[in-house]
């Protein structure tokens, strides 16, 4: 049996878990290639225009998978991974958008609901569907899940030690390391705020992270922070955003502001992302209070690469100059 997983959205956070889990059950896992113009175009053609790019990309990957000869497509419905918090409405309704848009795909889709206490979603109930649908025995199911969970925790630990989710996944899944490892000696450190599916999708973010790293900038992202620290940060606010990953970004943003090692913050956001419009505004207003440079990079299906390069270079230069000045002044 072949199960397909679109290389999109939370693939970038949970792929190690999913891959190991299905493989342990003896299932072949097929994923789509990196997002390309072709995939984006497929998504754009098959969705309503106002949707954000990552969701369009997901739809593109989904259609692509249909052509790749898989038996099923794993398309979980993310509902909540923190009490009282939810996912962006587009996530919660994603399986519905797809199953009602393409005739006959519903039978091919595996749509378990994901509910968890924290971002470790390897809870038995989230994977029980394999028993109901395919008669996997509870014992085998739990065993596979246990193994997968272990790998995923390693993946998370690797991020906590300072690797981006992408680097961590590459290392854990034994792919040749095709990245530049960040060293702490770099003179400039930038906090990069963005959803994993934007930052690590090379097409959507135009490889922003690697671009920064190749300018000798070390970076920090939300996934390098302990969940409990982020939650502590959120508790300080009178009300949070309701959306888990948006909240994580907001909390990471304020932590970056308070972190003396961080010289500036870049917020990468998809055109038309509702949650980001709120958190971006709050962070923008507060950036002056903390005297940290803040830049927003907005990506969509037409954003151009040149422009991006110039903007981040200017931002990094500005930070370098600022640092020199204070050093000289001191």
């Amino acid at each position: 049996m072949k199960i397909g997983i679109p290389r999109s959205l939370l693939y970038f956070y949970y792929y190690p878990l999913w891959k190991i889990y299905f493989e342990e059950l003896g299932i072949e896992v097929v994923t789509t290639p990196d997002t390309s113009k072709e995939i984006i175009d497929l998504g754009v053609k098959n969705s309503v225009p106002e949707l954000c790019v990552p969701v369009k990309a997901y739809i593109g990957h989904f259609i692509k998978l249909l052509d790749m000869g898989v038996d099923y497509i794993y398309a979980p419905r993310f509902v909540s991974i923190l009490k009282g918090q939810y996912f962006c409405p587009k996530f919660m309704g994603l399986p519905d958008m797809i199953r009602h848009s393409f005739d006959g795909v519903e039978d091919k889709m595996l749509i378990p609901m994901i509910h968890a206490q924290n971002d470790n979603i390897a809870e038995y109930k989230n994977f029980k569907f394999m028993e109901e649908r395919f008669g996997v025995s509870p014992k085998a199911n739990k065993l596979a899940l246990g193994k997968a969970e272990k790998v995923w925790l390693e993946f998370r630990n690797s991020s906590l030690r300072g690797h981006t989710a992408q680097e961590a996944a590459d290392m854990i899944l034994n792919k040749p390391e095709n990245h530049i490892t960040a060293t702490n000696r770099n003179p400039v450190k930038i906090g990069v705020l963005g959803y994993v599916y934007n930052l690590y999708d090379p097409y959507i973010s135009m490889d922003l992270v690697k671009k920064l790293q190749s300018m000798d900038v070390s970076i920090k992202t939300f996934e390098m922070m302990e969940e409990k620290d982020l939650n502590k940060q959120l508790k300080k606010m009178s009300k949070n955003l309701f959306w888990t990953f948006s909240d994580k970004l907001l909390a990471a943003g304020y932590s970056f502001y308070e972190d003396e090692e961080i010289d500036g913050v870049i917020h990468v956001t998809a055109f038309g992302c509702g949650p980001d419009s709120m958190l971006g505004k709050l962070l923008e207003i507060d950036s002056t209070n903390y005297a940290k440079p803040f830049m927003t990079i907005r990506v969509d299906e037409h954003s151009g690469e040149n422009h991006l390069q110039t903007r981040i270079e200017a931002f990094v230069d500005m930070i370098k100059r600022k640092k020199m000045k204070t050093r000289r002044g001191a």
Binding site: S47, E50, Q85, F87, P89, K90, M92, L94, G274, S277
Partner: protein, 363 residues
């Protein structure tokens, strides 16, 4: 306290409640181009449109001297719950100091609900508060009955614009009521005045009925949705909205186990399409479309704020529902540019389409 609130739909009822409790009410002006411009200027670019209009509305209320803003926090996982945070910060940034009283459903957080009520209660006795709430609830119910009548008659009025004028003056009458007897008197007078409007006779099988669904703010607030109800009425269609204040109150004020409101059925009707609550009113939107389809309506206008997260999900699913129930649906996304000739043309074309469909059915 000089109190104000966001402008939405039949505002006199909020005004009345606050007045009954002895507050000085600063009526927010009806959203105008200026309101929208102010809102757009001071809000995040990609904030949803209701947030922007309400932003503008607050600024205008503060200009008029308001000190306290009362609003509902909205519930369920969408941005509305976060509005007040963003509004507050932006207003502070602009140099205004203002207090917010944010109501959430009393079943979610009774303590907060209670403390909010206490703030508004001021020196009034609890009996007075309960009486006021009850009077306002009665008023909402009566106004909604009249409004539904307005939405029906408008399609057949002989003198264009008469129904709207009468409706406005009915609302003025309600604005002066102080007790139950006066509410009932205003209601009876209203009924009579509506009945006196001269209308054309239209055969039952030629009547067009259109439902309006979507996100609550753009559905309820005529000044930003091209006065959709009037527009459709003038084109000769009866209109029904997915949301009425009385329903909203009943649905939100009743604990779930005795909640037998129509809203509950609607949500059931939406279930096959969107099984869980994804935030905002998406599930209601699809449920209402199914319901209108079931009830033999001729078409549905779906209104959504530009970029509205949950309504984008409903928009994606609408083609399927529309096909399944054989009911045409037109989605209009509302933002600061709405009301352009282009949208008007789309509505006209839509009405032509359903009228054609209706004619075919008759012959």
């Amino acid at each position: 306290m000089k109190v104000s609130f966001p402008y939405m739909g039949t505002t006199i009822v909020y005004k009345k409640l606050l007045e009954l409790l002895g507050h000085e009410v600063i009526m927010p002006p009806k959203p105008s181009q200026r309101t929208i411009n102010l809102g757009v200027k001071y809000s995040p670019e990609f904030a949803c449109f209701p947030l922007k209009v309400i932003m503008g509305s607050y600024i205008e209320a503060l200009e008029a001297g308001a000190e306290v803003l009362v609003t509902s926090g909205g519930h369920g996982p969408c941005r509305a719950g976060f509005y007040e945070q963003v509004h507050r910060r932006i207003l502070e940034e602009k140099g205004h100091t203002v207090d917010f009283i944010v109501f959430n459903s009393m079943f979610r957080d009774f303590k907060q609900f209670y403390s909010n009520i206490k703030k508004l209660k001021d020196k009034n006795s609890w009996l007075k508060v309960i009486k006021s709430l009850w009077l306002v609830y009665l008023m909402i119910n009566k106004l909604d009955i009249l409004e539904k009548e307005v939405q029906r008659i408008r399609a057949y009025e002989v003198k264009r614009g008469e129904t709207t004028k009468v409706w406005e003056s009915i609302q003025k009458d309600f604005d002066t009521v102080r007790n139950k007897v006066q509410v009932m008197a205003a209601y009876d007078k209203g009924r009579k005045r509506l009945a006196d409007i001269k209308t054309y006779e239209v055969k039952e099988d030629r009547k067009l009925r259109i439902g309006i669904v979507g996100e609550i703010y753009v559905v309820m607030e005529a000044s930003i949705n091209m006065k959709m109800e009037e527009l459709l009425g003038n084109m000769g269609a009866e209109v029904e909205r997915s949301q009425y204040l009385s329903q909203w109150v009943a649905y939100n004020a009743l604990p779930s186990f005795i909640n037998k409101t129509h809203e509950v059925d609607i949500i059931k009707a939406g279930e096959p399409f969107i099984p869980i609550n994804i935030g905002g009113h998406a599930k209601q939107t699809v449920g209402h479309i199914a319901d209108y389809g079931e009830r033999g309506f001729d078409g549905v206008i779906h209104l959504m704020p530009f970029g509205c997260l949950p309504e984008l999900v409903s928009q994606s699913i609408i083609p399927k529902i529309s096909q399944q129930y054989d009911i045409p649906v037109l989605t209009l996304s509302i933002d600061e540019q709405t009301g352009t000739a282009n949208n008007l043309t789309r509505v006209e074309a839509f009405i032509d389409l359903i009228r054609g469909k209706r004619m075919k059915k008759i012959s």
